[in-house]
Symmetry: C2
Subunit: 239 residues, 2 copies
Amino acid sequence: MPNPTAAMLVIGDEILSGRTRDANMYFLAGELTKQGITLAEVRVVGDESDDIISAVRALSKRYDTVFTSGGIGPTHDDITADCIAAAFDRHIDVRDDARALLAAHYENTGSELNEARLRMARIPDGAGLIENPVSVAPGFTVDNVHVMAGVPSVFQAMVASVLPNLTGGAPLLSQSLRIDHGEGDIAGPLAALARKYDDLSIGSYPFQKNGAYGSNIVIRGTDGSRIDAAMTQLAGMFP
Amino acid sequence: MPNPTAAMLVIGDEILSGRTRDANMYFLAGELTKQGITLAEVRVVGDESDDIISAVRALSKRYDTVFTSGGIGPTHDDITADCIAAAFDRHIDVRDDARALLAAHYENTGSELNEARLRMARIPDGAGLIENPVSVAPGFTVDNVHVMAGVPSVFQAMVASVLPNLTGGAPLLSQSLRIDHGEGDIAGPLAALARKYDDLSIGSYPFQKNGAYGSNIVIRGTDGSRIDAAMTQLAGMFP
Protein backbone atom coordinates (compact mmCIF):
# COMPACT_ATOMS: atom_id res chain seq x y z
CA MET A 1 0.00 0.00 0.00
CA PRO A 2 1.41 3.42 -0.86
CA ASN A 3 2.24 5.73 2.02
CA PRO A 4 -0.31 8.35 3.07
CA THR A 5 0.09 11.74 1.41
CA ALA A 6 0.27 15.22 2.86
CA ALA A 7 0.38 18.82 1.69
CA MET A 8 1.46 22.00 3.41
CA LEU A 9 0.02 25.49 3.06
CA VAL A 10 2.29 28.31 4.23
CA ILE A 11 0.30 31.51 4.83
CA GLY A 12 1.90 34.92 5.04
CA ASP A 13 2.87 38.04 3.08
CA GLU A 14 6.21 38.10 4.86
CA ILE A 15 7.38 34.93 3.10
CA LEU A 16 6.34 36.13 -0.37
CA SER A 17 7.89 39.58 0.08
CA GLY A 18 11.23 38.03 1.00
CA ARG A 19 11.21 39.58 4.47
CA THR A 20 11.21 36.21 6.22
CA ARG A 21 12.83 32.99 5.10
CA ASP A 22 10.40 30.17 5.78
CA ALA A 23 11.78 27.51 8.10
CA ASN A 24 8.67 25.40 8.64
CA MET A 25 8.55 23.64 5.28
CA TYR A 26 11.99 22.13 5.69
CA PHE A 27 11.19 21.04 9.26
CA LEU A 28 7.85 19.47 8.36
CA ALA A 29 9.29 17.72 5.29
CA GLY A 30 11.86 15.95 7.45
CA GLU A 31 9.37 14.96 10.16
CA LEU A 32 6.87 13.54 7.67
CA THR A 33 9.54 11.54 5.87
CA LYS A 34 10.58 9.92 9.16
CA GLN A 35 6.94 9.05 9.84
CA GLY A 36 6.37 7.47 6.42
CA ILE A 37 4.05 10.19 5.16
CA THR A 38 4.75 11.53 1.67
CA LEU A 39 4.79 15.33 1.48
CA ALA A 40 3.51 15.72 -2.07
CA GLU A 41 2.92 19.44 -2.46
CA VAL A 42 3.54 22.75 -0.74
CA ARG A 43 1.85 26.06 -1.50
CA VAL A 44 2.68 29.50 -0.18
CA VAL A 45 -0.02 32.18 -0.34
CA GLY A 46 -0.34 35.67 1.11
CA ASP A 47 -2.79 37.07 3.64
CA GLU A 48 -5.71 37.04 1.19
CA SER A 49 -8.95 35.27 2.15
CA ASP A 50 -9.86 34.00 -1.30
CA ASP A 51 -6.40 32.57 -1.93
CA ILE A 52 -6.30 30.82 1.43
CA ILE A 53 -9.80 29.37 1.11
CA SER A 54 -9.31 27.99 -2.39
CA ALA A 55 -5.89 26.52 -1.56
CA VAL A 56 -7.24 24.81 1.57
CA ARG A 57 -10.14 23.31 -0.36
CA ALA A 58 -7.94 22.07 -3.21
CA LEU A 59 -5.30 20.52 -0.96
CA SER A 60 -7.78 19.01 1.51
CA LYS A 61 -9.59 17.25 -1.30
CA ARG A 62 -6.49 15.89 -2.96
CA TYR A 63 -4.26 14.74 -0.08
CA ASP A 64 -4.81 12.64 3.04
CA THR A 65 -3.61 15.34 5.43
CA VAL A 66 -2.94 19.08 5.17
CA PHE A 67 -0.82 21.21 7.48
CA THR A 68 -1.06 25.00 7.51
CA SER A 69 1.33 27.46 9.13
CA GLY A 70 0.77 31.11 9.93
CA GLY A 71 -1.99 33.60 10.54
CA ILE A 72 -3.54 32.44 13.82
CA GLY A 73 -2.30 35.22 16.15
CA PRO A 74 -4.27 38.12 17.68
CA THR A 75 -3.61 40.87 15.11
CA HIS A 76 -5.75 42.12 12.23
CA ASP A 77 -3.63 40.34 9.62
CA ASP A 78 -4.29 36.95 11.25
CA ILE A 79 -7.18 35.67 9.16
CA THR A 80 -6.43 31.97 8.84
CA ALA A 81 -9.01 30.67 11.35
CA ASP A 82 -11.86 32.50 9.63
CA CYS A 83 -10.66 31.26 6.23
CA ILE A 84 -10.55 27.63 7.39
CA ALA A 85 -14.09 27.96 8.75
CA ALA A 86 -15.20 29.42 5.42
CA ALA A 87 -13.42 26.69 3.45
CA PHE A 88 -15.42 24.02 5.31
CA ASP A 89 -18.65 26.02 5.68
CA ARG A 90 -18.39 25.93 9.46
CA HIS A 91 -19.52 28.56 11.93
CA ILE A 92 -16.71 30.18 13.93
CA ASP A 93 -16.69 32.08 17.20
CA VAL A 94 -14.85 32.26 20.50
CA ARG A 95 -15.10 28.77 21.97
CA ASP A 96 -15.28 28.09 25.71
CA ASP A 97 -12.54 25.43 25.83
CA ALA A 98 -10.05 27.65 23.99
CA ARG A 99 -11.07 30.68 26.03
CA ALA A 100 -10.48 28.73 29.26
CA LEU A 101 -6.93 27.86 28.17
CA LEU A 102 -6.15 31.50 27.42
CA ALA A 103 -7.85 32.81 30.57
CA ALA A 104 -5.76 30.53 32.79
CA HIS A 105 -2.58 31.46 30.96
CA TYR A 106 -3.09 35.23 31.08
CA GLU A 107 -4.14 35.06 34.72
CA ASN A 108 -0.82 33.37 35.46
CA THR A 109 1.19 35.90 33.49
CA GLY A 110 -0.75 38.94 34.70
CA SER A 111 -1.85 40.02 31.20
CA GLU A 112 -5.38 41.00 30.30
CA LEU A 113 -7.47 38.63 28.16
CA ASN A 114 -8.62 41.49 25.94
CA GLU A 115 -10.56 41.44 22.69
CA ALA A 116 -7.45 40.97 20.55
CA ARG A 117 -6.22 37.99 22.57
CA LEU A 118 -9.72 36.50 22.53
CA ARG A 119 -9.40 36.29 18.74
CA MET A 120 -7.04 33.40 19.38
CA ALA A 121 -9.95 31.49 20.96
CA ARG A 122 -11.97 31.71 17.73
CA ILE A 123 -12.27 28.07 16.68
CA PRO A 124 -14.53 26.61 13.97
CA ASP A 125 -17.40 24.42 15.20
CA GLY A 126 -16.43 20.79 15.60
CA ALA A 127 -12.68 21.39 15.38
CA GLY A 128 -10.30 19.59 17.73
CA LEU A 129 -7.71 21.71 19.54
CA ILE A 130 -3.96 21.27 18.99
CA GLU A 131 -1.90 21.72 22.11
CA ASN A 132 0.58 24.61 22.17
CA PRO A 133 3.08 24.04 24.98
CA VAL A 134 5.07 27.13 23.97
CA SER A 135 2.58 30.01 24.10
CA VAL A 136 -0.74 28.25 24.97
CA ALA A 137 -2.99 29.70 22.19
CA PRO A 138 -4.08 26.48 20.48
CA GLY A 139 -4.03 25.33 16.89
CA PHE A 140 -6.94 23.26 15.67
CA THR A 141 -7.92 20.46 13.34
CA VAL A 142 -10.90 20.62 10.98
CA ASP A 143 -11.54 17.55 8.88
CA ASN A 144 -8.08 16.58 7.55
CA VAL A 145 -6.53 20.04 7.98
CA HIS A 146 -4.23 20.85 10.90
CA VAL A 147 -3.98 24.59 11.47
CA MET A 148 -0.80 25.72 13.18
CA ALA A 149 1.17 28.84 14.06
CA GLY A 150 3.89 30.32 11.86
CA VAL A 151 6.43 31.11 14.59
CA PRO A 152 8.87 28.20 14.15
CA SER A 153 9.13 27.21 17.82
CA VAL A 154 5.34 27.07 18.12
CA PHE A 155 4.92 25.36 14.75
CA GLN A 156 7.38 22.66 15.75
CA ALA A 157 5.67 22.08 19.10
CA MET A 158 2.29 21.77 17.37
CA VAL A 159 3.69 19.31 14.81
CA ALA A 160 4.94 17.24 17.76
CA SER A 161 1.39 17.34 19.20
CA VAL A 162 -0.23 16.22 15.94
CA LEU A 163 2.16 13.66 14.44
CA PRO A 164 1.67 10.82 16.97
CA ASN A 165 -2.04 10.76 16.06
CA LEU A 166 -1.44 10.28 12.33
CA THR A 167 -1.17 6.92 10.67
CA GLY A 168 2.19 6.74 8.98
CA GLY A 169 3.39 4.31 6.35
CA ALA A 170 6.76 2.70 5.92
CA PRO A 171 9.42 5.32 6.70
CA LEU A 172 11.25 6.51 3.61
CA LEU A 173 14.84 5.29 3.81
CA SER A 174 17.67 6.79 1.84
CA GLN A 175 21.35 6.34 1.13
CA SER A 176 23.54 8.71 -0.76
CA LEU A 177 26.86 8.47 -2.59
CA ARG A 178 29.06 11.27 -3.76
CA ILE A 179 30.38 10.72 -7.26
CA ASP A 180 33.20 12.88 -8.55
CA HIS A 181 32.14 12.92 -12.18
CA GLY A 182 29.96 15.50 -13.91
CA GLU A 183 26.28 14.60 -14.25
CA GLY A 184 26.71 14.39 -18.01
CA ASP A 185 29.14 11.49 -17.59
CA ILE A 186 27.02 9.48 -15.19
CA ALA A 187 23.54 10.16 -16.53
CA GLY A 188 23.41 7.22 -18.95
CA PRO A 189 24.37 4.45 -16.51
CA LEU A 190 22.26 6.12 -13.82
CA ALA A 191 19.14 6.03 -16.01
CA ALA A 192 19.73 2.31 -16.62
CA LEU A 193 20.00 1.76 -12.87
CA ALA A 194 16.77 3.70 -12.30
CA ARG A 195 14.98 1.53 -14.86
CA LYS A 196 16.22 -1.67 -13.19
CA TYR A 197 15.23 -0.51 -9.69
CA ASP A 198 11.97 1.12 -10.64
CA ASP A 199 10.53 0.60 -7.13
CA LEU A 200 13.16 3.06 -5.84
CA SER A 201 13.56 6.77 -6.44
CA ILE A 202 17.03 7.68 -7.65
CA GLY A 203 17.91 11.36 -7.65
CA SER A 204 21.02 13.20 -8.81
CA TYR A 205 22.00 16.49 -7.12
CA PRO A 206 24.94 18.09 -8.87
CA PHE A 207 27.53 20.32 -7.26
CA GLN A 208 30.59 22.22 -8.32
CA LYS A 209 33.50 22.51 -5.93
CA ASN A 210 36.87 24.11 -6.62
CA GLY A 211 36.07 24.01 -10.33
CA ALA A 212 35.37 20.28 -10.39
CA TYR A 213 31.91 18.84 -11.12
CA GLY A 214 30.33 16.08 -9.11
CA SER A 215 26.95 14.83 -7.99
CA ASN A 216 25.36 13.38 -4.90
CA ILE A 217 23.23 10.40 -5.87
CA VAL A 218 20.39 9.73 -3.45
CA ILE A 219 18.50 6.43 -3.55
CA ARG A 220 15.20 6.44 -1.66
CA GLY A 221 12.66 3.76 -0.93
CA THR A 222 10.94 1.82 1.80
CA ASP A 223 12.84 -1.48 1.37
CA GLY A 224 16.32 -1.22 2.86
CA SER A 225 17.67 -4.36 1.17
CA ARG A 226 16.67 -3.07 -2.28
CA ILE A 227 18.41 0.23 -1.55
CA ASP A 228 21.51 -1.70 -0.43
CA ALA A 229 21.51 -3.66 -3.68
CA ALA A 230 21.13 -0.59 -5.88
CA MET A 231 23.76 1.29 -3.91
CA THR A 232 26.26 -1.57 -4.29
CA GLN A 233 25.71 -1.61 -8.03
CA LEU A 234 26.02 2.18 -8.21
CA ALA A 235 29.31 2.14 -6.32
CA GLY A 236 30.65 -0.44 -8.79
CA MET A 237 29.75 1.72 -11.76
CA PHE A 238 31.97 4.66 -10.88
CA PRO A 239 34.97 3.29 -9.02
CA MET B 1 -2.02 50.60 -11.56
CA PRO B 2 -1.27 47.58 -9.39
CA ASN B 3 2.16 46.01 -9.70
CA PRO B 4 2.62 43.02 -12.02
CA THR B 5 2.23 39.62 -10.35
CA ALA B 6 4.45 36.56 -10.35
CA ALA B 7 4.38 32.97 -9.15
CA MET B 8 7.16 30.47 -8.55
CA LEU B 9 7.12 26.72 -9.08
CA VAL B 10 9.83 24.79 -7.25
CA ILE B 11 10.30 21.33 -8.77
CA GLY B 12 12.06 18.50 -6.97
CA ASP B 13 11.57 15.47 -4.72
CA GLU B 14 14.59 16.53 -2.68
CA ILE B 15 12.75 19.57 -1.30
CA LEU B 16 9.62 17.63 -0.37
CA SER B 17 11.55 14.80 1.28
CA GLY B 18 13.42 17.27 3.48
CA ARG B 19 16.80 16.31 2.05
CA THR B 20 17.46 19.80 0.69
CA ARG B 21 16.37 23.11 2.14
CA ASP B 22 15.18 25.30 -0.72
CA ALA B 23 17.10 28.56 -1.04
CA ASN B 24 15.70 29.86 -4.32
CA MET B 25 12.28 31.00 -3.08
CA TYR B 26 13.76 33.37 -0.54
CA PHE B 27 16.21 34.76 -3.10
CA LEU B 28 13.59 35.29 -5.80
CA ALA B 29 11.12 36.85 -3.36
CA GLY B 30 13.65 39.51 -2.43
CA GLU B 31 14.64 40.23 -6.04
CA LEU B 32 11.05 40.58 -7.23
CA THR B 33 10.14 42.89 -4.36
CA LYS B 34 13.04 45.19 -5.28
CA GLN B 35 11.80 45.19 -8.89
CA GLY B 36 8.20 46.06 -8.00
CA ILE B 37 6.79 42.68 -8.96
CA THR B 38 4.43 41.04 -6.47
CA LEU B 39 5.24 37.40 -5.78
CA ALA B 40 1.71 36.17 -5.13
CA GLU B 41 2.06 32.40 -4.87
CA VAL B 42 4.66 29.65 -4.65
CA ARG B 43 4.11 25.96 -5.23
CA VAL B 44 6.48 23.07 -4.62
CA VAL B 45 5.87 19.80 -6.47
CA GLY B 46 7.87 16.61 -6.91
CA ASP B 47 9.36 15.05 -10.03
CA GLU B 48 5.95 13.97 -11.38
CA SER B 49 4.93 14.99 -14.91
CA ASP B 50 1.22 15.43 -14.24
CA ASP B 51 1.82 17.57 -11.16
CA ILE B 52 4.32 19.79 -12.96
CA ILE B 53 2.16 20.23 -16.04
CA SER B 54 -0.99 21.14 -14.17
CA ALA B 55 0.82 23.53 -11.82
CA VAL B 56 2.50 25.32 -14.75
CA ARG B 57 -0.82 25.71 -16.57
CA ALA B 58 -2.63 27.01 -13.49
CA LEU B 59 0.08 29.51 -12.52
CA SER B 60 0.75 30.71 -16.08
CA LYS B 61 -2.92 31.49 -16.56
CA ARG B 62 -3.36 33.32 -13.28
CA TYR B 63 -0.18 35.43 -12.94
CA ASP B 64 1.74 37.78 -15.22
CA THR B 65 5.01 35.87 -14.91
CA VAL B 66 6.04 32.42 -13.65
CA PHE B 67 9.49 31.28 -12.60
CA THR B 68 10.37 27.59 -12.24
CA SER B 69 13.43 26.11 -10.56
CA GLY B 70 14.81 22.60 -10.88
CA GLY B 71 14.78 19.62 -13.19
CA ILE B 72 16.65 20.85 -16.27
CA GLY B 73 19.88 18.88 -15.90
CA PRO B 74 21.10 15.85 -17.88
CA THR B 75 19.86 12.99 -15.67
CA HIS B 76 16.76 10.79 -15.95
CA ASP B 77 14.99 12.65 -13.13
CA ASP B 78 15.24 15.97 -15.00
CA ILE B 79 11.84 16.13 -16.68
CA THR B 80 10.96 19.81 -16.45
CA ALA B 81 11.69 20.79 -20.08
CA ASP B 82 9.41 18.05 -21.44
CA CYS B 83 6.68 19.01 -18.96
CA ILE B 84 6.81 22.68 -19.97
CA ALA B 85 6.53 21.68 -23.64
CA ALA B 86 3.53 19.50 -22.79
CA ALA B 87 1.91 22.25 -20.72
CA PHE B 88 1.96 24.57 -23.74
CA ASP B 89 1.38 21.90 -26.40
CA ARG B 90 4.74 22.63 -27.99
CA HIS B 91 7.05 20.21 -29.76
CA ILE B 92 10.41 19.69 -28.04
CA ASP B 93 13.74 18.37 -29.32
CA VAL B 94 17.44 19.17 -29.29
CA ARG B 95 17.72 22.67 -30.74
CA ASP B 96 20.68 23.86 -32.79
CA ASP B 97 21.30 27.11 -30.88
CA ALA B 98 21.37 25.35 -27.52
CA ARG B 99 23.46 22.50 -28.91
CA ALA B 100 26.00 25.00 -30.24
CA LEU B 101 26.39 26.56 -26.78
CA LEU B 102 27.00 23.17 -25.20
CA ALA B 103 29.32 21.96 -27.99
CA ALA B 104 31.58 25.00 -27.61
CA HIS B 105 31.61 24.64 -23.82
CA TYR B 106 32.46 20.94 -23.76
CA GLU B 107 35.10 21.36 -26.44
CA ASN B 108 36.76 23.94 -24.19
CA THR B 109 36.55 21.75 -21.11
CA GLY B 110 37.53 18.53 -22.91
CA SER B 111 34.32 16.68 -22.03
CA GLU B 112 32.24 14.70 -24.48
CA LEU B 113 28.89 16.12 -25.64
CA ASN B 114 27.20 12.77 -25.11
CA GLU B 115 23.53 11.82 -25.23
CA ALA B 116 22.93 12.75 -21.60
CA ARG B 117 24.44 16.23 -21.96
CA LEU B 118 22.50 16.74 -25.18
CA ARG B 119 19.32 16.42 -23.11
CA MET B 120 20.18 19.91 -21.83
CA ALA B 121 19.77 21.23 -25.39
CA ARG B 122 16.16 20.02 -25.53
CA ILE B 123 14.19 23.26 -25.85
CA PRO B 124 10.49 23.67 -26.73
CA ASP B 125 9.75 25.21 -30.13
CA GLY B 126 9.60 28.99 -30.04
CA ALA B 127 11.19 29.32 -26.60
CA GLY B 128 13.80 32.01 -25.91
CA LEU B 129 17.03 30.91 -24.26
CA ILE B 130 18.08 32.20 -20.83
CA GLU B 131 21.79 32.76 -20.47
CA ASN B 132 23.66 30.67 -17.91
CA PRO B 133 27.04 32.26 -17.20
CA VAL B 134 27.81 29.65 -14.51
CA SER B 135 27.58 26.32 -16.30
CA VAL B 136 26.43 27.26 -19.83
CA ALA B 137 23.43 24.90 -20.24
CA PRO B 138 20.65 27.42 -20.84
CA GLY B 139 17.28 27.96 -19.24
CA PHE B 140 14.42 29.03 -21.47
CA THR B 141 11.27 31.10 -21.64
CA VAL B 142 7.97 29.83 -23.07
CA ASP B 143 5.10 32.27 -23.07
CA ASN B 144 5.21 33.89 -19.59
CA VAL B 145 7.14 31.03 -17.94
CA HIS B 146 10.87 31.29 -17.22
CA VAL B 147 12.43 27.85 -16.72
CA MET B 148 15.58 27.85 -14.62
CA ALA B 149 17.98 25.50 -12.86
CA GLY B 150 17.64 24.43 -9.24
CA VAL B 151 21.31 24.75 -8.23
CA PRO B 152 21.24 28.07 -6.36
CA SER B 153 24.29 29.65 -8.04
CA VAL B 154 22.87 28.87 -11.49
CA PHE B 155 19.34 29.89 -10.48
CA GLN B 156 20.58 33.24 -9.27
CA ALA B 157 22.58 33.87 -12.42
CA MET B 158 19.54 33.05 -14.56
CA VAL B 159 17.32 35.37 -12.51
CA ALA B 160 19.87 38.10 -13.16
CA SER B 161 19.61 37.35 -16.90
CA VAL B 162 15.80 37.50 -16.90
CA LEU B 163 14.90 40.34 -14.53
CA PRO B 164 16.13 43.31 -16.59
CA ASN B 165 13.72 42.25 -19.36
CA LEU B 166 10.65 42.29 -17.14
CA THR B 167 8.46 45.31 -16.62
CA GLY B 168 8.41 46.07 -12.93
CA GLY B 169 6.06 48.29 -11.02
CA ALA B 170 6.73 50.60 -8.14
CA PRO B 171 9.21 48.91 -5.83
CA LEU B 172 7.66 47.75 -2.58
CA LEU B 173 9.07 49.86 0.24
CA SER B 174 8.98 48.85 3.86
CA GLN B 175 9.85 50.11 7.30
CA SER B 176 9.76 48.13 10.47
CA LEU B 177 9.57 48.94 14.15
CA ARG B 178 10.22 46.63 17.06
CA ILE B 179 7.64 46.98 19.80
CA ASP B 180 8.32 45.42 23.18
CA HIS B 181 4.73 44.57 24.01
CA GLY B 182 2.95 41.30 23.35
CA GLU B 183 0.81 41.17 20.20
CA GLY B 184 -2.30 40.89 22.37
CA ASP B 185 -1.62 44.35 23.82
CA ILE B 186 -0.97 46.10 20.52
CA ALA B 187 -3.49 44.37 18.26
CA GLY B 188 -6.37 46.78 18.86
CA PRO B 189 -4.56 50.06 18.09
CA LEU B 190 -2.73 48.31 15.23
CA ALA B 191 -6.00 47.28 13.59
CA ALA B 192 -7.21 50.88 13.81
CA LEU B 193 -4.00 52.05 12.16
CA ALA B 194 -4.42 49.47 9.39
CA ARG B 195 -7.97 50.69 8.75
CA LYS B 196 -6.78 54.30 8.53
CA TYR B 197 -3.90 53.47 6.16
CA ASP B 198 -5.74 50.94 4.04
CA ASP B 199 -3.46 51.59 1.05
CA LEU B 200 -0.57 50.10 3.07
CA SER B 201 0.02 46.58 4.28
CA ILE B 202 0.72 46.41 8.00
CA GLY B 203 2.03 43.11 9.32
CA SER B 204 2.86 41.98 12.83
CA TYR B 205 5.56 39.34 13.37
CA PRO B 206 5.75 38.30 17.01
CA PHE B 207 8.83 37.07 18.80
CA GLN B 208 9.73 35.87 22.24
CA LYS B 209 13.13 36.68 23.67
CA ASN B 210 14.39 35.89 27.15
CA GLY B 211 10.83 35.23 28.25
CA ALA B 212 9.53 38.63 27.08
CA TYR B 213 7.05 39.02 24.24
CA GLY B 214 7.39 41.56 21.47
CA SER B 215 6.56 42.06 17.83
CA ASN B 216 8.16 43.51 14.74
CA ILE B 217 5.65 45.66 12.91
CA VAL B 218 6.32 45.95 9.19
CA ILE B 219 4.58 48.59 7.10
CA ARG B 220 4.78 48.02 3.35
CA GLY B 221 3.63 50.04 0.40
CA THR B 222 4.77 51.88 -2.70
CA ASP B 223 4.36 55.45 -1.36
CA GLY B 224 7.22 56.32 0.98
CA SER B 225 5.57 59.41 2.46
CA ARG B 226 2.49 57.41 3.44
CA ILE B 227 4.71 54.80 5.11
CA ASP B 228 6.54 57.59 6.96
CA ALA B 229 3.24 59.00 8.22
CA ALA B 230 1.93 55.63 9.40
CA MET B 231 5.26 54.81 11.03
CA THR B 232 5.30 58.12 12.92
CA GLN B 233 1.82 57.45 14.23
CA LEU B 234 2.77 53.87 15.16
CA ALA B 235 5.84 55.04 17.09
CA GLY B 236 3.64 57.49 19.03
CA MET B 237 1.21 54.74 20.02
CA PHE B 238 3.70 52.65 21.97
CA PRO B 239 6.28 54.99 23.44
